[in-house]
């Protein structure tokens, strides 16, 4: 029973990590008023870039860096088209996802079914050996802790720093921010790059830690869940964390039920985490007034300074 609980908690945390990374990035992007639907594409690009680099060099940390770079590169493509050239953000984001999927499949064709070095699990003497708590809290790889740390820093930054205030201001009214002399477009570029970096990191986690392999479309829609998480958490970091963990838990449970051989179609079971997370988050955030209160007022609206 204890072993089952430990396995449950450990895999919940592992499954929630890529979601958390990608959603934290998207949170910052949306806070400044930009809607980037290309998260899934950036995650896939990060996954293959990380996997291929780690496979070629044998160094996982280089793979992680390559994944971040790939995420940023794709996000900059999005930024140029949607922020500088003012194309519709929704369409551009969708195109980015399609591009990321196709591109990663092309590059990854030669990497299917071969191993790459895996991100090592941290092992702290004594601490990691405590029963239950040890493996659950101290037995993960570095990205798990990084994801939580980034979320904490982002939450603090949004809430309590002048930088966070500027980000919120740009998302609340870009015209007012511009009138006050803030450089709306460069700030948005930076936020989009941050979102891209974290999506890339989430991809690296998928291909180097979670399932250390490359398979086409291996993110399996997690990028979309991340985008949904941001909205349904009403742009609040704490609920983002709860949502990500909930997804992870359902992921494990559906696998577990499958393993028990319950007579439910497996396709339906694999859909449960996605449906369940969205349903629960919709229930949490069903107050339309609160959504409107926290929603960055400029979300998805292009900004053009009149000159």
């Amino acid at each position: 029973m204890t072993a089952l609980l430990v396995a449950f908690l450990v895999s919940t945390i592992a499954a929630s990590t890529p979601l958390l990374l990608a959603a934290t990035g998207e949170l910052i992007v949306e806070k400044v008023g930009v809607l980037n639907l290309g998260v899934e594409g950036m995650m896939l690009a990060g996954a293959i870039a990380g996997f291929a680099t780690a496979n070629q060099t044998g160094i996982t940390s280089l793979g992680v860096l390559a994944a971040v770079a790939a995420g940023i590169a794709l996000s900059m493509l999005f930024a140029v088209v949607s922020l500088t050239l003012q194309a519709n953000q929704t369409a551009t984001g969708l195109a980015l996802t399609i591009f990321g999927r196709g591109f990663s499949a092309l590059v990854g064709a030669g990497y299917v079914g071969i191993p790459a070095p895996t991100l090592p699990k941290i092992h702290l003497p004594v601490l990691s050996d405590i029963p239950v708590l040890g493996p659950v809290i101290f037995g993960h790889d570095i990205l798990v802790y990084l994801a939580l740390a980034i979320l904490a820093v982002v939450a603090w930054c949004i809430r309590s720093t002048h930088l966070g205030l500027i980000l919120r201001a740009v998302g609340d009214s870009h015209d007012a921010a511009h009138a006050l002399g803030y450089a709306v477009i460069p700030i948005r570029y930076a936020a989009v790059a941050f979102g891209g970096a974290l999506a890339g990191l989430a991809g690296a986690y998928m291909s180097l830690a979670y399932t250390p392999l490359w398979a086409q479309d291996m993110t399996a829609g997690r990028g979309w869940v991340a985008v949904a998480l941001v909205t349904f958490s009403a742009w609040r970091p704490f609920w983002l964390l709860i949502g990500a963990w909930f997804f992870g838990a359902l992921m494990y449970l559906s696998l577990y039920v499958q393993a028990l051989g319950v007579a439910v179609p497996s396709a339906l079971l694999s859909a449960v985490p996605y449906i369940g997370t969205v349903v629960v988050l919709v229930l949490i955030s069903r107050d339309a007034r609160r959504i409107r209160l926290h929603r960055p007022a400029m979300l998805g609206r292009p900004f053009q300074a009149r000159v």
């Binding site: 002048h162 205030l165 500027i166 919120r168 201001a169 609340d172 009214s173 015209d175 007012a176 921010a177 511009h178 009138a179 006050l180 002399g181 803030y182 339309a288 007034r289 609160r290 409107r292 209160l293 926290h294 007022a297 300074a305 009149r306 000159v307």
Partner: protein, 517 residues
Amino acid sequence: MTDAAPSGPLLTMTGMTKQYPGCLANDHVSLTVERNQIHALLGENGAGKSTLVKIIYGVVKPDEGHIVWDGRKVAIQNPGHAQRLGIGMVFQHFSLFEALTVQENIALGLGSARERVGLRERIVRISNEYGLPLDPDRVVHDLSVGERQRIEIVRCLLQNPKLLIMDEPTSVLTPSEVRKLFVTLRRLAAEGCSILYISHKLEEVRALCSAATIMRLGKNVARVIPAEKTVKELAEIMINMDLHAPTPRPLAPSSAPSRLVLNKLTIRSPNHFGTDLKDISLSLKGGEILGIAGIAGNGQSELMDALSGEILAGKPDSVLIDGVPAGHMGPHDRRRIHGCFVPEERNGHGAVTTMTLAENAFLSGFTRRALVRFGVIDTKKTAAFAENIIKVFDVRTTGPKAQARSLSGGNLQKFLVGREVLQEPAVLAINQPTWGVDAGAALAIHEAIMALAAGGAAVMIISQDLDEIFVLADRIAVIAGGRVSAPVLTRDATVESIGRLMGGGSAPAAAGEMAVA
């Protein structure tokens, strides 16, 4: 130190030219603001005032022209540059962040971390010193428009400006708030901060400003001393035509039947920053114009939506149009029973800006003008309807095929009011009938509303412009905090008595009416 002793004008602009696609917004405009001066900038909508001001504040780059600021020639690059030069601006549509607190909003307006040291204390000190009380921790969306304006002024004052630009500062204030603002502005000017004051309210300009530059169609037309001119003279220079007051109209007979009745209308606003409507009861007779005065954000838009059916009232009985319970009906059903509506926002609410005038005429008029036959749009009839609106209301446009967004604000508003008036409504509700509309168009709209009432319709006007309400309405009620005061006859009301109610004062009139009942 490059600063010589201050001499000569503070700001001199010559030959300012700015061309927008299809519109020469500024055509060699000049402007001189002296030190310690409150200088008015006058002109109709579209005269180019905003463009000129945006050039001063670095938001817009001019194509041609020279700016001499404080004795030195400058090219103002951006708002940050303008602020460093000592130019502050209070915007017409406030440049505030709704979801942030007062202190956060002000912090955003100050560049460096050094300037933000001890900000809280400085906000409190300056706001007390100038009679602009503010609580740094309140969130902006909870504040009245007057308080919001104070934030902007305090934000500017924290930077010790030499020139403060104010764009229509009083259009959103109660009469007593206006008086307080004037005291503050006079004191600022005396202390060495010049003020560039943009307003439509000529009476105020005469009282406050020592010089005025008047613009028309992107050009300078005059520089005058406002106190030496009458309001009528100033207005005629602005619009270059004779103005005549609308003809007065006899009161509706007290025996006329009620055409619009609100019965304890109570509605929760769908908008988080909105105002809930509480227990509103009103009754309008045919031939009557009721004016609803009030400061922006006190439930006007919710009331308008409840009248038009965009928000459903729940109980059918809470809205009666010509005796028919309509609280549960959407806009189309209400139009079918002779209710017509003109919302506040022309662009995107009253009109679909990317559609043609004919299409826009169709969208609201298809039921009452029978513009659909067997599910197909009767294009001929629709075009004729639009053509008729354009003709009757003198809408300056190329024709029914013109896009709504190609019209100026005043012309589009005339079209939208005309669209509803020509549907021969029994009940017409208009929110802000002449907001941002030039004097000529405003007069035309006022006359149309009066003619409609003279024809037996009940008209409700929701407006923040007290002058407009006093000109048009037979009775005046005030909306404050989602409640509507008991209406009083216009001839018994004064600007002061209405102004008190707008500020949320008690409503002695309500007690009076109860005694009569």
